[in-house]
Amino acid sequence: MSPSFRYFSLLFLFFINNAFATPLAKVKVVLNRPALTDSIAIDVFKCYLSNIVISDSNYKNDLSPSNYHLLDFSNSDTIFLFVSPFANANSIEFNLGIDSIINSSGALGGQLDPSNGMYWTWQSGYINFKIEGSSPICTSRNHEFQFHAGGYAYPYNALKAFKFELQPNKPFHIEIDLALFFNMISLKNLDHVMSPGPNALKISKALASCFKIVEDEK
């Protein structure tokens, strides 16, 4: 039987408004490399992007104080991030996940509200990302996989920091190719992660490998 592949492609944008309100940056999630031997269906992909800092040679534009964005790729309302006009950007920095200071700050609201379902109630801390779905390769019940990554305390701090160089005035998007995630872990041997620890580090590293900057073609 030839391997089937369920195509998963979602395109989401976050805008960096310049004078003409043209989108300069967007986040695109793809799973488009049939490198896997079996099909994968994804039901949930949520992640926190935080501390976004866009800079040119002499100016930093961070989005504080509420620089915490919960992207839920099933709800397009949550993935539009507006930042102030900034045309000559030459780098973008951001974190995948929530830093240790916020993790130890008690009850917070908005994007960080524990009722968003991205908070571990039994062991304090935010869930940096969730990837859930199913694949026949999983030996688990209903062939489901469920990855919840988090953890802020040494040595299991699962936060991933990114810094990408940008070409000034060139539109770009951030691409998250989830196929790389599934290439890095073996669904046959690992189908769930639900707590901080070595496995949370492993899947965080795997998701971090999926992020890249792609220049838009005009």
């Binding site: 700050s105 008690g106 009850a107 908070y119 039994w122």
Partner: protein, 337 residues
């Protein structure tokens, strides 16, 4: 005119001062500085009252049957008298003994294993645990939003009737922070108001010799995680601090509990295995075997005589704070309907 203005500003300052003082977080001067960041959660009487109503309200549980107070009884220093393990909805039984609740502004982490890192988020654990309240925070908010009386209480506490999890949790924190126990016989002794009798004094000497390393004055805990050589209950197989830190050296370590109000907070230990202080004394008197995983202070046998055990217990009873235990401000509110 100028004089009137000055008079008016002095008056306003006085009013401001009085109102700040009314909402000040008060504690004895021999207590250390609190670790709770009070500047992020301003204390007001209305917030404390809202937190108190929530604490006694079973609305926080899935079937509206269990409140915080179900396992944290005010007359037992907010511990669960006679129950070794905590109870939940549908007669479910938890894994650990419900701890006392007071002097929480000084506590760095919560739960016997320190899994919770901030007082504000502590309540989320029992609310969502399937063996405790079995509820979701979103559903709690839904239920609170349907209640007119809660809308009024939130309005009083926050200036509008918006009900969200941040406000709900911070109000519960405010009630918990208001639970301060510092009026025991021990406190009177520290302040020089009374003198211990001979037995208490001897017990105090023994306490300082054998117990003060971990159960450090004046809060009677150093908030560390330690093993005190309890045998492993194989029906629970509770790994303690290890389940949070994943460090092998933390296996079977539990948070050092405060000894204040210990006379009323039985049963004792993380699994409530000891019913009496005499049993606790006998346990500590019998350990002392060489074990790398426990404090060096616990590696030598205490060898207390029967009289010394009685004296040590007499001292421990000086930590009872009846004013706190029977304070009407901490009990069921008239706003609980």
């Amino acid at each position: 005119m100028k004089n009137k203005l000055i008079l008016l500003s002095v008056l306003l300052l006085c009013i401001a001062f009085v109102s700040i003082n009314k909402n000040a977080f008060k504690y004895p001067k021999y207590f250390p500085k609190p670790v709770y960041a009070l500047e992020n959660n301003n204390r007001t009487e209305f917030k404390i009252e809202l937190g108190r109503v929530l604490f006694y309200d079973p609305i926080l549980s899935k079937d509206n049957s269990i409140s915080c107070a179900s396992c944290h009884n005010p007359y037992n220093a907010f511990a669960h008298v006679d129950h070794s393990l905590s109870h939940g909805i549908n007669d479910k039984i938890g894994k650990r003994n419900a701890p006392v609740l007071f002097n929480l502004a000084w506590q760095k982490s919560f739960m016997w294993d320190g899994a919770i890192n901030h007082l504000d988020v502590q309540a989320l654990a029992p609310i969502t645990h399937p063996d405790e309240m079995g509820e979701t925070i979103s559903n709690v908010l839904l239920k609170l939003n349907r209640s007119q009386s809660y809308k009024q209480l939130f309005y009083k506490a926050y200036g509008d009737s918006l009900i969200n999890s941040e406000r709900t949790l911070k109000s519960i924190s405010q009630f918990l922070l208001s639970l301060i126990s510092s009026n025991s016989r021990y406190d009177s002794m520290v302040l020089g108001k009374i003198k211990f009798n001979t037995k208490e004094q001897n017990g105090y000497r023994l306490f300082q010799l054998h117990c003060n390393t971990c159960h450090r004055e004046p809060l009677f805990t150093d908030f560390t995680f330690q093993s005190n050589r309890l045998s492993i209950d194989t029906s629970l197989n509770d790994l303690g601090r290890y389940s949070v830190s994943l460090l092998p050296r933390d296996s079977f370590k539990f948070k050092v509990p405060t000894l204040r109000n210990i006379e009323f907070s039985y049963p004792y230990m993380h699994d409530g295995r000891f019913k009496t202080l005499a049993q606790v004394m006998n346990h500590y008197n019998s350990i002392g075997l060489i074990n790398e995983n426990i404090l060096k202070e616990l590696r030598k046998v205490m060898k207390l005589s029967s009289n010394e055990k009685v004296d040590l217990i007499a001292f421990l009873k000086t930590l009872t704070d009846k004013k706190f235990l029977f304070d009407a401000k901490h009990t069921y509110s008239k706003n609980n309907k």
